[in-house]
Amino acid sequence: MTHRTPLLSTRGLNVGLAGRTFCRQLTLTVQSGECLAILGRNGAGKSTLLSVLAGLRPPDAGEVLVNGASYGSLGARASALARGWLPQSRSEAFSSTVIETALVGRHPHLARWDWESEKDARIARQALAAVGLAELAQRDIQTLSGGERQRLAIATLLAQAPQLYLLDEPLAHLDLNHQIATLELFSALAREREIACVMVLHEPGLAVRFCSHALLLFGDGSTQQGGCDEVISSESLSRLYGYPLREVGGKGQRWFMPA
C-alpha cells in the first residue's frame, strides 16, 4: 500500500468555545474514499469542530491540513476548490432563484471577470437533478420548504465539486427517502470520485450503514475514533448520549434503540 497525503489531517488540535473544551490534542486523518461520521450530544462541539476543520474558525491550538497544506497557505480560493462546507442553518436576506443559488457553487472555479458559462450552468442543473430539484430551477428560494432548501444547499455544494465535503447535519429537515438518497449520493461520490466526507450525524445506525469511520465527541474534551465497527457499540453510544441503548439488527445492519 502506497503512502498518500491524506485529504484532511489534524495535528494536536484543541477546539473549544466560551470556556468549554470539545477536543484535546486531536489527531485525525481522512483519506479519499473515506466517510467519517461525527457523533455527539447537543452542544458537544460537533459543529464547532466541523467549522474548524473547514478553516472558518481558528483552532485553540494545533493545525488543520488539507492535502498537506494549511488553509492560511492555500488562501480562500484554493481552499474553496479543495473543500466544501454545508452549513447547519441558512438565512436568505434577498430573493434569488434556485438555479442562481446552485450556480453560486461555481464561484471558486471562475476567474475575477468571468461570467458563468454554459458549462457552469450545465453543472448546476446536474447538481439540482441529483437532489431532485430540477423542476424547481426557476423558483424563488424564499418559497421553498425547509427540506427543499436543505437539498438546494447540497446541490450548491455538488456544483462547487470540492474533494473534501464537510457536512453539518446533512439530513436536517429531510424526510426519510431523501435522507437515504443523500447518504447514498455522498457514499457513491466517495467510492467513485476519490472524494472524502466528514459529516455530523444524529443517527448511529445510518453512520454504521454509510460511513467507514466515526469520531465520538463526549463533550468533556475526550474523544474516540476509529472504524465504525470498532467505535460504534451499544456501550460507547450509551456513554456518548448518557442514555442506555440496545443494539438490534441483522443482515449487516445495526440499529440502536433506547432501552
Binding site: A76, S79, P87, A93, F94, L103, V104, Q160
Partner: protein, 329 residues
C-alpha cells in the same frame, strides 16, 4: 442571473436615460433653452446669456446632482449587501448625522460654501471612524454589532442636530433646514465628485461576484473562496466615503440610497455585477430629474430636492413592489 449580454443592454438603456435626464436639466429653468441651443452651448458655440446659463449654471449643477445620486445609490447597494439588510441605506451608520453636525456648525458660524462642505466632510469622517472603531470590538465584527453601533451613533448625531436647530439664530434656520433636506443650489465644480463616482464604481466592480456571495452570508462566502474580512472592511470604507462625498456636496438627500437599489433589484435581479453600475446610473438620473423639478415646479421658489426624491421614489417603489410580489411565486 442575467447573461452578460442582457446586463450590457440594460446598462446601455440606463446610460441613455442618464443622458436624457441631463439634457432635460439643461433645457428647463427660468429661461427655457431648446435642445439645439443646449447642444451648441455644450460645444462652446453659443455666445451670450444662453451659453453662460448652460455652461456655468445648469451643467455644473446637473453633473453634481448626477454624481451625488450615483454615489448615494452605490453606497446604499453596498451597505444592503454588507449588512445583509434590505432596509439599510447610506445614512443608517450615522454618516449623514456626522456630516449634519459639521455642516450646521459651519452655517451657525456663518461660514461660506467651502467651509460648510469642509466641516460636513470632517463630521462624516468622524462618524465613520467612531462607528468603525466601536464596532470593531474584541469579538470581531458582526453585522448586528455594526448596525447597532451605527444606529446609536446616528441617533446621537440626530439629537445634536436637533439641539443645534433649537438654539440657532432665526435667520440661519432656513439654510440649515435646506441643508438637512438636501440642496443642490450651492454647488461648485462637479469634477471632483464625478471622479470620485467613477473611482468608487471601478473599485467595486471587480468584487461584484464576491459581493453576491457575501449577500448570502459571511460563512458561506468564506467557504466558497471569498476573503471575507478584507472585503467587508473595504466595502465599509468605500460606502462611507461615497456617502460622505455625496452628503458634503448636496446635503442629506433621502430615499435615493434606499430606493434605487431596490428598484433595480425588482427590475433586473440581485446580481451585483449588474446591480452596482445600474444603481449608479439610475440614482444619478433620478436625482437630476428630481432637482430639475425642484427648481422649476414652483419657480422662482426652489424646493428642497430631498422632498422631490421622496415624492417620486415612494410611489414608483410601491407600484413595483405590489407588481413584483405575486410574480415571485
Amino acid at each position: 442571473m442575467p447573461t452578460r449580454r442582457r446586463a450590457l443592454l440594460i446598462l446601455a438603456a440606463l446610460a441613455g436615460l442618464s443622458q436624457l435626464s441631463i439634457v432635460l436639466a439643461l433645457m428647463v429653468g427660468s429661461i427655457p433653452i431648446s435642445p439645439a441651443e443646449v447642444l451648441a452651448s455644450l460645444l462652446g458655440d453659443a455666445s451670450g446669456m444662453t451659453g453662460d446659463v448652460v455652461r456655468s449654471l445648469r451643467l455644473p449643477r446637473a453633473l453634481t446632482g448626477f454624481a451625488c445620486g450615483g454615489l448615494l445609490a452605490l453606497a446604499g447597494a453596498l451597505l444592503q449587501v454588507l449588512l445583509r439588510n434590505p432596509l439599510a441605506d447610506p445614512y443608517v451608520l450615522g454618516i449623514s448625522g456626522g456630516a449634519g453636525i459639521g455642516a450646521l456648525l459651519a452655517i451657525v458660524l456663518g461660514f461660506g460654501v467651502a467651509g460648510i462642505n469642509g466641516l460636513a466632510f470632517v463630521g462624516a469622517l468622524g462618524a465613520m471612524l467612531l462607528v468603525f472603531g466601536l464596532a470593531h470590538g474584541e469579538g470581531g465584527w458582526t453585522q448586528s454589532r455594526l448596525l447597532l453601533t451605527g444606529v446609536i451613533v446616528a441617533a446621537g448625531c440626530g439629537a445634536v442636530v436637533t439641539l443645534m436647530l433649537a438654539i440657532a439664530p432665526e435667520e440661519r434656520l432656513r439654510g440649515m433646514l435646506f441643508w438637512l433636506m438636501g440642496d443642490l443650489s450651492q454647488t461648485g465644480d462637479p469634477r471632483l465628485v464625478l471622479i470620485l463616482l467613477v473611482v468608487a464604481l471601478l473599485t467595486t466592480l471587480p468584487f461584484a461576484r464576491e459581493l453576491n456571495l457575501l449577500a448570502r452570508g459571511a460563512d458561506i462566502a468564506q467557504a466558497l473562496g471569498v476573503a471575507v474580512g478584507p472585503l467587508r472592511r473595504g466595502v465599509y470604507v468605500l460606502a462611507s466615503l461615497a456617502t460622505a462625498a455625496a452628503v458634503t456636496h448636496a446635503g442629506a438627500i433621502g430615499f435615493i440610497g434606499l430606493i434605487v437599489p431596490h428598484l433595480v433589484r425588482l427590475a433586473a435581479g440581485n446580481d451585483q455585477r449588474l446591480l452596482l453600475p445600474a444603481s449608479v446610473l439610475a440614482g444619478g438620473s433620478l436625482l437630476v430629474i428630481a432637482d430639475t423639478l425642484a427648481r422649476s415646479v414652483l419657480a422662482p421658489q426652489q424646493l428642497p430636492v430631498g422632498v422631490l426624491t421622496a415624492l417620486i421614489g415612494v410611489p414608483v417603489f410601491l407600484f413595483l413592489l405590489s407588481r413584483a410580489a405575486p410574480g415571485q411565486h
